[in-house]
Symmetry: C2
Subunit: 197 residues, 2 copies
């Protein structure tokens, strides 16, 4: 079975796919990370696409588990932020997938994160006054927050170079508090709009 070798390959592939993207990462490069040949890699995974599929699942699983365990929307977003901080390369990989999956529309990849989004929608609807929020409004709200978090996460190299690493780490410190304020305010606004309408 050698689950060990497989998981090592998946970890190395995650790193490289995140850094260079699917097309920028060769099988030989992934195998080289472990000092092995690409043929060994192919023996375990069959094709490059299948390897990518496993990587995607491996990246999505902890995120889905995290939001499923969260009791409130606020808690969910806090743990999401922590996950991103621990493994920024996962965020990078998912962002690339978001950009690419127009072309792989028919594949199953797209759906890996649907439970994640559905859980966030569910948590949002548990808020008093928002039980009957429609998909469009709820998704809009959640996407604003996800966008703010994820975009910041992938901008580290750019921001560090433009404004210096000191400025960037200062941003990191204020960002979490800022996101929490954004979340609570967005919820209040949404609530008002609902009851007002």
């Amino acid at each position: 079975m050698s689950t060990d070798t497989r998981t090592q390959f998946v970890a190395a592939a995650t790193k490289l796919y995140a850094e260079r993207g699917f097309y920028g990462t060769s099988l030989a490069a992934v195998a080289n990370e472990l000092g092995m040949t690409k043929q060994t890699l192919l023996h375990h995974f069959g094709t490059k696409e299948k390897l990518y599929g496993e990587v995607l699942q491996h990246v999505c699983a902890p995120m889905i588990a995290t939001v499923n365990a969260a009791q409130t929307l606020e808690a969910a977003f806090i743990t999401i932020g922590e996950l991103i901080g621990e493994a920024p390369e996962n965020t990078q990989l998912l962002m690339r997938e978001l950009l690419d999956n127009k072309r792989r529309a028919e594949d199953a990849h797209n759906w890996y994160l649907k439970p994640f989004l559905d859980r966030l929608l569910g948590l949002l609807r548990e808020k008093p006054g928002l039980e009957t929020l429609r998909d469009a409004e709820a998704l809009t709200l959640i996407y604003q927050l996800l966008g703010a978090i994820n975009y910041f996460a992938i901008s580290k190299p750019t921001l560090s170079q433009m404004y210096g690493t000191e400025t960037y780490s200062a941003m990191e410190k204020t960002y979490r508090a800022s996101i929490e304020r954004l979340l609570s305010t967005a919820l209040e606004m949404q609530e008002e709009a609902e009851t007002g309408a």
Copy 2:
């Protein structure tokens, strides 16, 4: 000179780089879009990297011009939203650049959008009470908004597939109003935090 052929090439390259990324786009594919050979393309641009550089400049220029023309931060974000709506592939391309430029850190590419960000910072500091806002706080605020807008823009295919095109177009309708609310609320919050501290 034949500026015409060059601009045609740049337009075709923009489209393909946005869709497939730098590594997923071959010179032959770009040339094929105009029914020409890759050698003709190379004759005009020298290397693939140089073509990419011109594409990047061509994408950044209208965004910088737009925010420079804007009188207020709100107006700037509204026109940014319109630009993204008109040419979503440009957003896609810039997002890819954001993911990739960790590797091209030393190149000049990264700096194409710095005037854009600096202008937004300047507009933010024109707000009463925010004149002395530090870079970190100001950038955090702006990045949340840019993140929310851009992330939504590149999620169209995914969201359309997951929740249907009707839900997505409903989101599009509410998104702009939602962003404006987010912006005004963020400004209020920031103002309070400043004066309170």
